[in-house]
């Protein structure tokens, strides 16, 4: 395709892409209508559902993609689309919030309300950018990384209990799944740096590897105390164990340790060393452009949402509302409680970004190994103590 130089060129490209997609959709839909019998009466149902939406829902159920199906859960809610929407809007919110803190206005023109459509505008800009890769890079790995980063975020969503009913997959060892997936994150960072065949990305990749491994151990130990108290590796059971009292009340140290390690795992300021833009350009993201970059960013923000959700699950009582609230608050249902808490965690992380500079790698590692690890073990002993004294009704054997 020719280069885009002017606005008419851009419009032409847009029309070509959209027209192509439309033609493709018509062909696929046409083929489906004549081959799958369930779809062939789609027109009638579409008309009927205008007056009665239930018909449409039932119809979708019959196809296996209805509101209670696994497909819906994975794709729409509480799965990927939901997370992507939250990720996109948290990007907008982050920019707006930081702008307010920095006495400026932030995104303003895209969308009606304070540039709320800015993330969409950014994505559409990124899609039309040229996709560049360094000439000696390992192309296969280089372009797999955006998918892998997204996959990590999406896998975490699978075990995240949004409410009692809304859960994609219930597993007895969902906690282990979470940590297995988090453990995969440094590998993507290292691979991205390595596959770029460039100096700064490589340094960024190494930094990411050091940082994430150093912070995973305190994170695991902090989570282990939660497992001890609740007596289960199942996140749903962990939430149910907090129906009366949240674990942040019982183990504030553990919550702080987990929160700090969370920041490090997410590469947020003050721990954004793998992508420190003033030191190593953009770290492992240096060579990425266009939607490959956008994909990594989206994946990172989905992981941001997912890990904030896991913090909510482990320490903030998941979908449970606070016990001491007056009666009127029952109208807030479990999904809303979960979302509110998760967003609060995310806002806290954004505030920390606004007021802090970046750590240095040696300080960071020393901080992790000499402070956080000790605090995590201290927290573990507290958990054991609580368990032995029998102050907490749940809990498994040691």
């Amino acid at each position: 395709m020719s280069e885009i130089r002017t606005f008419p060129d851009f419009l032409k490209r847009l029309i070509i892409v959209l027209g192509g997609l439309l033609i493709l959709a018509i062909i696929i839909f046409g083929v489906l209508i004549y081959t799958v019998p369930a779809i062939s009466n789609f027109n009638g149902i579409l008309l009927e559902s205008l007056s009665n939406p239930i018909v449409m829902l039932n119809y979708l159920d019959s196809l296996g993609v209805g509101i209670n199906s696994l497909f819906f859960k994975i794709v729409v809610f509480p799965g990927y689309t939901w997370a992507a929407i939250i990720a996109a809007e948290i990007i907008w919110f982050e920019r707006k919030f930081l702008a307010k803190m920095q006495v400026r206005v932030g995104p303003l023109y895209a969308g009606m309300i304070g540039g709320i459509l800015q993330p969409i505008a950014d994505v559409s800009k990124l899609i039309f950018k040229e996709l560049i890769s360094p000439s000696r890079s390992d192309k296969l790995i280089f372009f797999t990384i955006p998918l892998l980063v997204n996959a990590i975020g999406a896998t975490l969503l699978a075990v995240l209990p949004v409410s009692e009913g809304w859960l994609i997959m219930r597993s007895e060892v969902s906690m282990l799944i979470v940590f297995a997936v988090i453990g995969f994150a440094p590998i993507t960072v290292l691979l991205a740096g390595w596959a770029s065949y460039s100096k700064f990305p490589f340094i960024g990749g190494l930094r990411g590897l050091h940082q994430m491994i150093a912070f995973e151990i305190p994170m695991l130990i902090a989570a282990l105390s939660v497992v001890l108290l609740s007596g289960s590796l199942d996140l749903v059971n962990i939430v149910q164990a907090q129906s009366n009292v949240w674990f942040i009340v019982l183990m504030p140290i553990g919550a702080i340790v987990f929160f700090i390690t969370l920041l490090a795992e997410l590469e947020r300021i003050p721990f954004d060393l793998p992508e420190a833009e003033s030191e190593i350009v953009m770290g492992y993201l240096t060579e990425y452009s266009s939607m490959a970059f956008g994909g990594i960013q989206l994946g990172t923000y989905i992981r941001f949402y997912a890990l904030s959700g896991i913090f909510t699950t482990l320490f903030l009582g998941g979908w449970h509302g606070p016990q001491f609230l007056p009666a009127g608050f029952e109208i807030i249902n479990q999904i809303e409680w979960f979302t509110i808490k998760t967003l609060l965690v995310m806002v806290t992380i954004i505030i920390l970004r606004g007021v802090n500079p970046r750590f240095r790698i040696d300080q960071l590692l020393r901080f992790s190994w000499s402070r956080l690890l000790i605090l995590a073990f201290l927290n573990l002993f507290i958990a054991i103590f609580i368990l032995q004294m029998g102050w907490f009704p749940f809990g498994g054997g040691i």
Binding site: A99, K100, M101, V103, I351, V355
Partner: protein, 166 residues
């Protein structure tokens, strides 16, 4: 614990600014108010008169075509050229030569205004000189003679919730 208290002090300072007014100057909607009608020069006293140094204004009826402004600009940005406009009948300007200014080169230092002994070339408040090509930035004497209509209303104000543009 010193670490934690200092960190909280920083967070507090940041959170305080969530309630401050924004300083941002929303440019196309707001425009800055300038003092005076632009930079002018009093050749008798040898002192300028304070004002914004923007696009020039040429008083054609005063210009004698002495090209002092050109000589001054020659060592600075070479933006001024003399061109002949025979159709302009100015009594003081027998040769009918007037300056034309290339705003692609001008650095707005205003020394051409200082160089003019006849109060013919001043500067104005207008600064929005934008174009798609270089040719449109070449302002002929007729274009320079037009008085710009710049209207700025906005200036920094200091209120209880911080400074703002208003």
């Amino acid at each position: 614990m010193n670490f934690v208290s200092k960190l909280f002090s920083a967070i507090k300072s940041g959170m305080k600014h969530l309630f401050m007014r924004r300083l941002t100057f929303r440019y196309p909607n707001q425009k800055l108010k300038f003092y005076g009608d632009g930079y002018q020069y009093d050749p008798k006293e040898g002192v300028g008169i304070a004002g914004y140094r923007g696009r020039h204004i040429l008083y054609i009826e005063k210009c004698t075509g002495c090209s002092l402004c050109v000589m001054m600009c020659k060592g600075i940005s070479q933006a001024i050229q003399m061109i002949n406009l025979p159709e302009k009948k100015v009594p003081v300007n027998k040769k009918c030569s007037f300056p034309q200014i290339d705003y692609a080169k001008c650095v707005y230092c205003g020394f051409c205004v200082d160089a003019c002994p006849f109060k013919a070339l001043f500067e104005t408040n207008e600064y929005e000189i934008v174009s798609y090509d270089r040719e449109s930035l070449l302002f002929t004497p007729e274009q320079l003679a037009i008085k710009p209509k710049y209207k700025g209303t906005c200036e920094i104000k200091y209120g209880k919730r911080g400074a703002y543009h208003g």
